[in-house]
């Protein structure tokens, strides 16, 4: 392996476009791929018994990561991390722990004309980690999903 790529994923269009780019880059550059899914639930406090909702969230995140990894053909090689809380802080932490060389995150289209990019996560990551952040461009809009 020539390094490590951490990709922030979710089930939305932005997460999928990030995953698509991350898979292509990791294959082309020979990078280890780590998929990170962060939910915005309140993180569990302490190390006592895990609460039922926290367990459900963790298992849901594991299922989502497994499904996305299988969908994009990287189930056998992508490592998976999940957590809950502040997405930028946790992805920054995962990048540090995994010795990441690059972070890939998605972006949404912004504005009525949808010409801008919503890149808040990437902006927040700038103060969380010294690892370079690559923003995956949004995928072309699917037919029939246009809003009025």
């Amino acid at each position: 392996m020539r390094g490590t790529l951490v990709c922030g994923v979710n089930d939305g269009d932005d997460g999928r476009s990030a995953l698509e780019l991350a898979v292509a880059l990791s294959e082309r550059l020979g990078l280890r791929l780590v998929l990170a899914h962060i939910s915005d639930d309140i993180p569990p406090v302490g190390d006592g018994e895990e609460s039922v909702p926290a367990k459900a969230n963790r298992e849901g995140a594991a299922r989502l990561l497994a499904r996305l990894a299988a969908e994009y053909g990287v189930a056998d090689r992508a490592e998976r991390r999940s957590g809950s809380g502040d997405a930028a802080a946790l992805i920054g932490r995962i990048a540090a722990e995994e010795a990441a060389d690059l972070i890939v995150v998605g972006a949404r289209l912004r504005g009525r004309l949808r010409r801008g990019l919503e890149t808040r996560l990437a902006e927040q990551l700038a103060s969380e980690t010294p690892v370079p952040v690559l923003i995956a461009p949004p995928r072309p809009r699917r037919p029939g999903r246009m809003t009025a």
Binding site: G3, R81, E98, S127, E128
Partner: protein
Amino acid sequence: MKHPLSVFSRVFVVNAALLGVLAALLLFSPVEIDAPIRPTQALIVVAGLVATLAANVILLRHALAPLERLAQRMEAVDLLRPGQRLQVLRNDEISRVVVAFNRMLDRLESERQQSGRRILAAQEAERVGIARDLHDEVGQVLTGVLLHLDSIAESAPAHRDEIDDAKQAVRRALDEVRRISSELRPEMLEHLGLVSALTELTTTFSRVSGVHVERQFDQALPKLEPDAELAIYRIAQESLTNVARHAQATRVTVSFEQGFDSVVLRVADDGRGFAGNPEEHGGLRSMRERALLIGAALAIKQASPNGVEVRLEVPAVRVVQPVGVL
């Protein structure tokens, strides 16, 4: 630096502008207030108040947002995860506080690293001392007891069985002393290198715990500094201790392989894993401390499909930054 105005000036300007707009509306609009006030007039006053407060909230929130970020970072800061700094986007009092906070973190992280290094060095020296005492003092005493039991056995053949039992117990105690002594002072690491020391560590672990160990060790690995080798050994040792104590695993994979300008240690078990993110204290914090001191990246995470994986990536070459260019 987009905002040369101070926070005080900005808050003052925002409020002065809002009050000015309100006064202008009262002075130049045809609205009149009767006494007693009529419902439509009351509605206009309330709407004006709500609009003023909403504008105030929006503008003040924007002005004070960096303070919120600073407070969040202060609450979440962890010196064992260094390098997190707030961005300075403005040039005002809050930004000066942010700059001062970032500098304070620089100092704290540096001091923490120095004190951590001193503590670990003292801990290692103490371990070596205890190992030597165990080996030289307790070991010698137990060997003496064995010899003494031999001589008693010769003079009292009627009690041979009891004496043999006692000799077995003393031999077990001697083995334990040797094992603890070698855990405290990994002589194999000093004399035969890290791969041999890890091989011995995993072999002993498998024999004592009954957990099957699968080893994947690269034979040709880049040279590491002695403190890095010791940290890797100790982290592997702590990881295996955790497997034996908590994991309820039947198999553990220990790999030590070349990475990209690095070496990577992985200890992955097939046990019950942990629920969520465990609080890191005791052994886990000690592992993080050791990783921090050698500039390594340490991840403690769920293994796939179950269990826990400890992954340590240590840079093989310490890059020396140039001090300056003439």
